[in-house]
C-alpha cells in the first residue's frame, strides 16, 4: 500500500472530479459535498469508462396514500452514470443503484498538507 499524490485540494472543488492514472489504473476522484471518493474507472457491466459519466441525483419513487406514485430526487450530484450503457452508481458507496451487489472498486483518499492522496 502506498499513498499517491494526485491533486491539490483546490483542484477538485465540490461537484467536480479528476481522472488520474495510478499504478496503471484509471481512477476517478470525486468531491461530493466536500467528501472525496476514489473509484476505479471500470464499469462492472462491460468495463466502460464509468468515471467519465455525467452526474445525477438518486431518483426514487414513493407510493402515496392513494397508491399513486411520486418520483423525486433523494440526493443531488452523487450518482454517476456510465456513458456506455447508463449503469448508475452511488459515488460514496460505489454501489450500482439497480443492483447493489455490483460495486465499483473504491480506494481510500486522504488529505495531507493540502494535497489529495489515493491509497492503493
Amino acid at each position: 500500500m502506498a499513498k499517491h499524490r494526485i491533486a491539490r485540494v483546490e483542484e477538485i472543488p465540490a461537484g467536480e472530479r479528476k481522472l488520474v492514472e495510478v499504478e496503471g489504473k484509471s481512477i476517478g476522484v470525486f468531491n461530493v459535498r466536500g467528501e472525496y471518493h476514489a473509484l476505479e474507472n471500470v464499469c462492472c457491466h462491460r468495463g466502460g469508462p464509468v468515471c467519465e459519466g455525467n452526474l445525477f441525483g438518486r431518483l426514487e419513487s414513493e407510493v402515496m396514500p392513494d397508491k399513486r406514485t411520486r418520483e423525486y430526487y433523494a440526493t443531488e450530484g452523487d450518482v454517476i452514470a456510465c456513458p456506455w450503457h447508463g449503469w448508475e452508481y452511488e459515488i460514496p458507496s460505489g454501489e450500482c443503484l439497480a443492483d447493489r451487489t455490483y460495486k465499483l472498486r473504491k480506494f481510500p483518499v486522504v488529505v495531507e498538507e493540502g494535497a489529495l492522496r489515493v491509497v492503493l
Binding site: R46, F56, P83, H85
Partner: protein, 351 residues
C-alpha cells in the same frame, strides 16, 4: 484490428445519415417531401434512448446530429471491429411508412446513398439492400438493380410493424429476387414507440423496447418457419438480429410442441421447427448477462451457438455490445469464439 487475436465481424452496426444527403439520391416529388418534412413523414421514437445524458457517445455525432462517413472507421477502431454490416439509422421505422411510393422512393434513395457514400469493401464496410416490403414486385426490382454491388452483403427486411408476417406468399417476389442474386436474408427487428406498441399504455421506453424487438422476431420467425419459407426457397440463408439469444430456444421448443400435435397445419415441413431454426443465424446483441453464467452456457448449447451465432455490436445504439461480450465468456472454446466473432458471418453474408 482484431480483439485478443480474434478477427471481429460486426453483423449489425448503424450509421446516422443526413436527410439532406440522402435526398440528393431521390427523385421528385419525394425528394422535396423528405427535405421539407422528414420528421413528420418518418415516425421517430418517444422516450429518450440516452436517458437525459446518462448514456453518451462522445466519439460519434450520433444521436445529436448526422454522422460523417469518416466516423465509421473511427468507430470500428475504437470497438476493435474489422468488418461492419451497416444499417442506416433512419430506416429502422420503415415498416411504418403507409405510402407505397414514398417507401419505395426512400428505399431507392437510401440504397443508392449507402452504396455511393458509405460502403467501402476494402475497409470492411458493407451494407444490405433495404426493401419496401409493402411493395414486393418493386422490392424485387430493387434487389436486381443493386444486389450485385460488391458493397451489398445481404437483403435486409426491416421487420418491425411489417404485416402480413414475413412467411406469407405475398413476399414471394422478394425472396425469389434474393435467391436469384445469391444474397442471404437478414430480418432486422426494431423496438416500438410508446404510442404505437401492440398494447397502448406502457409508461416507459424500457418496457416497450424490451418487448418490441423480441415480439417482431417471434412474429416473423413463427411465420417464416411454419409457412415453410426454407422449403419454398431452399437456396436462401436466414439471419435474425437484435433480440439476444434466449428467445430462440423458447420459440424452438414452443413451436416443436405445437407441431407435434398439429402437423396437419404445416404439412410442408420436413422436420421439426427447431431444426429449421438451427439452420438459421442469430445476431448476439443485446446478449443477456445472467449472474449465473451456467444459464448463459446452457442457452448457448440450446441454440448450437458455435454454428448459429453471429456477433453484432448494434453500435452506436444505447444498448450496444463490445466484442468482449464474447471474448470474455469463460465457457466458450477458442474455436467457438472465432466462429461467433467472424467465421459464421463470413459464411453467411456475401462479402
Amino acid at each position: 484490428m482484431a480483439v485478443n487475436g480474434f478477427t471481429v465481424i460486426d453483423t449489425d452496426a448503424h450509421y446516422l445519415e443526413s436527410f439532406q444527403e440522402v435526398a440528393k439520391y431521390m427523385e421528385e416529388p419525394y425528394k422535396s417531401r423528405l427535405l421539407k418534412a422528414a420528421h413528420r413523414l418518418i415516425p421517430t421514437t418517444t422516450g429518450d434512448r440516452f436517458m437525459e445524458g446518462r448514456i453518451r457517445r462522445d466519439e460519434v455525432s450520433y444521436p445529436q446530429k448526422p454522422m460523417t462517413p469518416e466516423e465509421i472507421p473511427a468507430a470500428q477502431k475504437r470497438l476493435g471491429v474489422d468488418v461492419s454490416v451497416i444499417l442506416p439509422n433512419n430506416l429502422l421505422e420503415l415498416g411504418k411508412f403507409p405510402v407505397k411510393n414514398m417507401a419505395l422512393a426512400i428505399c431507392r434513395g437510401f440504397n443508392d446513398y449507402m452504396l455511393d457514400q458509405i460502403v467501402d469493401p476494402k475497409r470492411g464496410i458493407y451494407t444490405m439492400v433495404f426493401v419496401p416490403l409493402l411493395d414486393p414486385p418493386e422490392s424485387a426490382k430493387l434487389i436486381d438493380r443493386v444486389g450485385k454491388h460488391p458493397g451489398v452483403a445481404a437483403v435486409c427486411f426491416i421487420s418491425a410493424n411489417v404485416e402480413p408476417p414475413l412467411g406469407d406468399t405475398f413476399y414471394n417476389p422478394v425472396y425469389e429476387a434474393a435467391q436469384r442474386n445469391g444474397l442471404p436474408i437478414v430480418y432486422h427487428s426494431a423496438g416500438s414507440d410508446l404510442h404505437d406498441f401492440f398494447v397502448r399504455g406502457f409508461q416507459s421506453f424500457m418496457e416497450t423496447h424490451s418487448l418490441g424487438f423480441v415480439f417482431w422476431n417471434y412474429i416473423h420467425m413463427t411465420s417464416v418457419v411454419m409457412e415453410g419459407i426454407p422449403e419454398r426457397f431452399p437456396g436462401l440463408k436466414f439471419g435474425f438480429q437484435e433480440s439476444g439469444i434466449f428467445w430462440v430456444p423458447q420459440l424452438m421448443y414452443r413451436l416443436d410442441n405445437a407441431y407435434m400435435k398439429r402437423r396437419s397445419e404445416s404439412p410442408l415441413l420436413k422436420k421439426l421447427p427447431s431444426e429449421y431454426m438451427r439452420d438459421f443465424r442469430f445476431g448476439t446483441q443485446p446478449l443477456e448477462s445472467p449472474k449465473n453464467l451456467d444459464h448463459l452456457k446452457y442457452a448457448f448449447e440450446m441454440v448450437d451457438a458455435e454454428n448459429t451465432l453471429m456477433f453484432a455490436t448494434d453500435y452506436p445504439h444505447w444498448d450496444f455490445d463490445p466484442p468482449s461480450t464474447i471474448t470474455d465468456l469463460p465457457f466458450l472454446s477458442h474455436k467457438a469464439k472465432t466462429r461467433i466473432l467472424s467465421e459464421n458471418a463470413q459464411n453467411f453474408f456475401r462479402f
